[in-house]
């Protein structure tokens, strides 16, 4: 039986970071179903595509990442959201985790480190999925 690819929404206003995350996610075997450049688009695309995972930037125009996170969690309380953040936003990250974000990735690392972070998060996610399917 052919297994389907994990479907990911990337919400990040910085095009260069979006491209990188998209590249890495794709290399890990997932499918990027949509890319949003601001918070409003992110919510709209989440409703439209119902992805398995959301990679969500905190600092975005129109609607910031925390507000987007809250709306997504209202739509789907089991949504799997990974925050993309920078080093000096750790307090905000804690707030995101309190609001239901599953994990976070530091995006102001080098591209190589970013890839490792995404890969680690990805492995954790796959472990989580197979555990929940067994139980």
């Amino acid at each position: 039986m052919q297994k389907r690819k994990v479907r990911v929404l990337i919400a990040e206003d910085e095009e260069h970071i979006r491209s990188l995350v998209s590249l890495f996610i794709t290399q890990l075997g997932a499918e990027v179903v949509a890319e949003a450049g601001d918070g409003l688009q992110a919510v709209s695309m989440y409703k439209q595509h119902n992805p398995d995972m959301v990679m969500l930037d905190i600092n975005m125009p129109k609607l910031d990442g925390i507000a987007v996170l809250k709306q997504i969690m209202e739509i789907n309380p089991r949504a799997l959201v990974v925050m993309l953040t920078s080093l000096n936003a750790r307090e905000v990250v804690k707030e995101c985790i309190d609001h239901g974000a599953w994990n976070y990735i530091l995006k102001d690392a080098s591209a190589e480190e970013l890839f490792k972070e995404i890969k680690t998060t990805w492995s954790d996610y796959m472990t989580e999925i197979s555990r929940s399917e067994k139980s």
């Binding site: 910085e14 260069h16 290399q27």
Partner: protein, 263 residues
């Protein structure tokens, strides 16, 4: 169930594509620097200062992040200095005066020099670093930037309260590892760290900075500890050790001493 990860050779493939993305990124940098400059100049006009400031700050922060990711660390460092300059005018449109604008323009010129250097294949930028150092001492004057590494929020609040009123801008992180990440990327004048910090203890943090030939190699370091007779390895020297039990009496005078020597 979704497909499992196929990560074999994924990084290799990604790196090949990344190479081209880096070239494209550097090619677009002049345009982004021009945009920041225009936004900065618009601040002086004073119309909708708050919205313009927010956009400028967000774009500066964004450039700082992407530059680091794409291996342009010096652009990231200049952006950090620009961010700090912006933070000083955040609450007052009137502060965006000619002197402020000249300083920002100097940052943009430094960024352009970095881009030119990168295009020629230059990897290190000592001349930019020293220009930044000169601007820093000029801009900061008596004000210093300090990083406080303290896992306890109560203690962090206590120490920042003690230093309130002194011309010190304090950033706080809660682990040694986070502190090291920040210190390898951004300049600080003073490090105040607990010894008992998670992920990397305070002494190891200071030693790592001394061993690394980075921007904070010679940072003034104050170590707070509840241990008596803590042995300080030579690799971490110089460091001022303050016992936590006496810190209310000693921390402020240490920082004041530092400020005086810096003048």
């Amino acid at each position: 169930m979704p497909n499992p990860i196929d990560s074999s050779a994924a990084m290799l493939r990604a790196q090949q594509m990344l190479q081209q993305m880096r070239v494209n990124y550097i090619a677009e940098l002049p345009e982004r620097i021009d945009e920041l400059e225009q936004l900065t100049l618009a601040l002086k006009q004073g119309d909708s200062f708050e919205a313009q400031f927010e956009e400028l700050y967000r774009k500066t922060h964004s450039l700082k992040g992407t530059a680091g990711t794409y291996g342009m660390q010096m652009i990231s460092t200049v952006c950090h200095e620009l961010e700090e300059a912006l933070e000083r005018i955040a609450d007052a449109p009137g502060k965006a005066d000619d002197q402020f604008l000249d300083r920002c323009i100097a940052y943009f010129d430094l960024m352009r020099q970095v881009v030119e250097g990168a295009r020629r294949g230059q990897a290190a930028f000592p001349e930019i670093e020293s220009a930044l150092g000169a601007m820093r001492s000029d801009i900061i004057g008596n004000n210093i930037s300090a990083l406080l590494v303290e896992p306890s929020r109560v203690n962090a609040a206590l120490y920042t309260g003690m230093l309130k009123g002194l011309p010190v801008k304090i950033s706080i992180v809660d682990s040694g590892c986070s502190a090291l990440e920040m210190l390898l990327r951004n300049h600080f004048d003073l490090l105040i760290t607990g010894y008992e910090t998670s992920a990397l203890n305070g002494l190891a943090l200071i030693a790592a900075l001394r061993l690394n030939n980075g921007i904070n190699k010679d940072i003034r370091a104050i170590l707070l500890t509840s241990k008596k007779n803590l042995v300080i390895p030579s690799v971490a020297q110089p460091v001022t050790v303050l016992e936590r039990i006496n810190v209310s009496a000693t921390l402020v005078s240490e920082v004041q001493d530092f400020l005086q020597k810096k003048q």
